[in-house]
Symmetry: C2
Subunit: 336 residues, 2 copies
C-alpha cells in the first residue's frame, strides 16, 4: 500500500534504457570510469544526477567487500536497574559507529555461545565487517571463538584469564571507583565500612577485592567487612545490609545500584546524606539522589568502535583501561 513510488527508483538498467546505452556501460561509468569515453561518462553522470540514482548498498558491498556494518548483541532488558548501563553502551556505540560511516546490526541471542555462533554466521555471510562484544567474564567462550573464526572484534570488558586470544578490549578500572567511594565515606567520618555485592566473578570480584584493599589502607586499624549475595536485587541488598549493620558496620560501598537501594532502606540517611555508595550511576541512583560510581560508558563505546574498526583493517590489537568517577549526591526526595 505504501509502495506507490517504489517502482520509480532509477536502476542501472532503467538509466541505460533512457540513454540508449548498455547496463554494463552505465556500470563502467560508476566502477571503471577510465575505460569509458569522456562524452559518454558526462552523459551518464548528468542523467544519474537528474534521476537521483544511488548505487544500492548491496551492489556497493559486493564491489568493496565491505558491509559497513558492525554487529552488536542486544541483551535482555533484565530487571531494569542495571540494564540501563548496557542501553547507554548500545546508544553510544551506534552514535560512534555512525560517525565512522558504519551502521549497527542488532541481534538477540539466548546465551554467550549462541552469541558467538550468530556473529560467526553473520561474518561468514559477509553481513558484517566487525563485532563488539561486552560484559566479558572469566570462562567467557566468545573471545576464543571469534578469534578462531577470524572475525575482527573488540570487547567492552577485559580478558579476565590467560590471554589465549590477544584481541582488543577496553574496560573500566573498577578498583579506582571503589577506592574513591571508600575515601568519600572516610572523609565523611565513617570508619566501620563494609562492601556489599553480588557473588559473581569478573568486574564484581574486582570491585570487592579493590574495596577491601582500599579499606585496609585507608582505615588500617579497623579494616573492612563484606557480604556477598546470590542475586543482584534491592531485596538481597537489604538482607545483606542488615547483616553488616548487626556486625557494627555503619557505611557501605555497593557493587551495584540495585544493592545500594536495598542498603539505603536499612541504613537510612541524615538530612539526605546516606552512608551508601552505589555502582554504575543508573537512572535509579540519579532519580533517588544516591551517590554512585559512574563508568565512562560513552568513552568506552567510542573506543570499542575504534578498536573494532582497527581490527577490521588488520591493525594490531590494543588493550585500554579507563577510569570511573564517583558522583556524590544528596537524597533528592527525602532531604526535607
Amino acid at each position: 500500500m505504501s509502495k506507490a513510488k517504489a517502482g520509480k527508483r532509477a536502476t542501472l538498467a532503467s538509466l541505460g534504457d533512457q540513454l540508449g546505452l548498455s547496463r554494463q556501460t552505465i556500470s563502467n561509468v560508476l566502477n571503471n570510469p577510465s575505460i569509458v569515453s569522456e562524452e559518454t561518462r558526462n552523459r551518464v553522470l548528468e542523467a544519474i544526477e537528474a534521476s537521483g540514482y544511488r548505487p544500492s548498498a548491496a551492489a556497493r558491498a559486493l564491489r568493496t567487500k565491505r558491509s559497513m556494518t558492525i554487529a552488536l548483541r542486544l541483551y535482555p532488558a533484565g530487571d531494569g536497574i542495571e540494564g540501563a548501563l548496557m542501553d547507554r553502551f548500545t546508544h553510544a556505540v551506534t552514535e560512534a559507529a555512525q560517525a565512522h560511516g558504519y551502521r549497527i546490526a542488532l541481534f538477540c541471542a539466548d546465551d554467550m555461545r549462541s552469541e558467538a555462533d550468530a556473529l560467526v554466521e553473520l561474518h561468514e555471510e559477509a553481513q558484517i565487517d566487525a563485532a563488539i562484544i561486552s560484559d566479558t567474564y572469566p570462562g567467557d567462550p566468545r573471545p576464543a571463538a571469534l578469534w578462531e573464526a577470524g572475525l575482527p572484534f573488540s570487547a567492552f570488558g577485559r580478558q579476565w584469564e590467560r590471554p589465549e586470544a590477544p584481541h582488543s578490549w577496553v574496560d573500566v578500572d573498577g578498583r579506582v571507583g571503589v577506592r574513591a567511594a571508600v575515601e568519600h565515606l572516610v572523609a565523611a567520618g565513617y570508619r566501620r565500612i563494609g562492601y556489599l555485592g553480588p557473588r559473581v566473578g569478573g568486574a564484581s570480584e574486582d570491585r570487592r577485592a579493590g574495596c577491601l584493599e582500599a579499606l585496609a589502607e585507608c582505615v588500617p586499624s579497623v579494616g573492612g567487612d563484606q557480604e556477598l549475595t546470590e542475586r543482584d536485587t534491592p531485596k538481597a541488598g537489604a538482607a545483606a545490609a542488615s547483616a553488616l549493620q548487626e556486625r557494627g558496620v555503619t557505611a557501605v560501598v555497593c557493587g551495584s545500584d540495585a544493592m545500594a537501594m536495598g542498603a539505603l532502606s536499612v541504613f537510612g540517611h541524615r538530612d539526605g546524606h546516606a552512608p551508601i555508595v552505589g555502582f554504575d550511576d543508573t537512572p535509579v541512583a540519579r532519580a533517588m539522589g544516591l551517590s554512585s560510581v559512574a563508568q565512562p560508558v560513552e568513552e568506552a563505546a567510542r573506543l570499542a568502535v575504534e578498536l573494532a574498526l582497527a581490527a577490521a583493517n588488520g591493525e594490531p590489537s590494543r588493550q585500554l583501561l579507563i577510569e570511573p568517577e564517583l558522583v556524590v549526591r544528596r537524597l533528592e526526595a527525602f532531604a526535607r
Copy 2:
C-alpha cells in the same frame, strides 16, 4: 591481526576452480538449477556442502531485492527514568524481527526530520525493506514524509491528526490505564484525586483528558483537579504535587513515573501504601514499589514488526489500539 582465516572462505570462484567448472555454472546451480544437468548439480551441491560455502548476504540481497532489514532509530537515552520504555521497545522489536528472519539496522538522528531523511536515504540505497517509527505526536513530520517516499513502515503511536497518510500503527489506549488508576484510588477510599502530568500533546494529553473524564464519572460529587508541568522530572512533579495538596487533593494519578516519584516525596505513604499511581511501569517504579500503569510494550513491538512487514508486502494498512494494565504495588524499601 584477527583475520587469519578470512581468506579461507569458499566463494563461487574457488568452488569452480576446485570442480573444473565456470563461476557462472556454480551460480546457475544456486539461482537457476533447472538449466544445469542433474549430474553437475549434484557434484556442485556436494562440494558446496563439504566446503561450508554460504551465499553472501549482499549477493542474496541483489538477487532477491530484499535486504531482510528493518530500520529503527535509537533515541537519546534522556534522563533515564522514562527512557527505559523505549529501550524495552527496541529490545522487543529486535526479537520480533529476528523471529521473522529480519535484522534491525540501528541509527541515530538529531530530530524527527533528520530521522525521516535518514530513513528515506536508507530505503533509496536499498539497505532496508521497511521502517518502524515511534513516539508519534501531533504535527509529526515523519508519517507523511515516509508515505510520500513510498517507504513501507509502521508506527508505535497513533496518527494524532487528520489521517493524510493512512499508514499502519499500533498504540496503547492510555485512557484505559488512567481509568484503572482512578478506580484503584477510589476503591482505596480516596475521593479528592488529582492528575499530574507534563504539558505536552499526544499521549500525555490523552492521559490527562481520560483521567478527568474518569474522575467526573467515578466521584461525580467531587470531580477532578489537575496540575501540568513544563518538565517531566521528579522535581517538577514534587512542586506540582505540593500545589495539589494545598488545594486539598489527597491522591494523585501521574502521567509518568518521573512525576510520580516527585509526588511520592510530597504525599508519603501509610505502611507502604502510597496514594500515587505512576505511568509506564519503569525500572524506577519496580525498584521503589510504586504502583504504575504498564504499557504492553512487547506486544506493541511484535505488532509493529508485523505491520511493517505487511506494508513491505504491499498489504493494506491496519490501525491497532491495545490496552495497558495497572500494576498495584506496596513500597518495598519503606514498608517496615
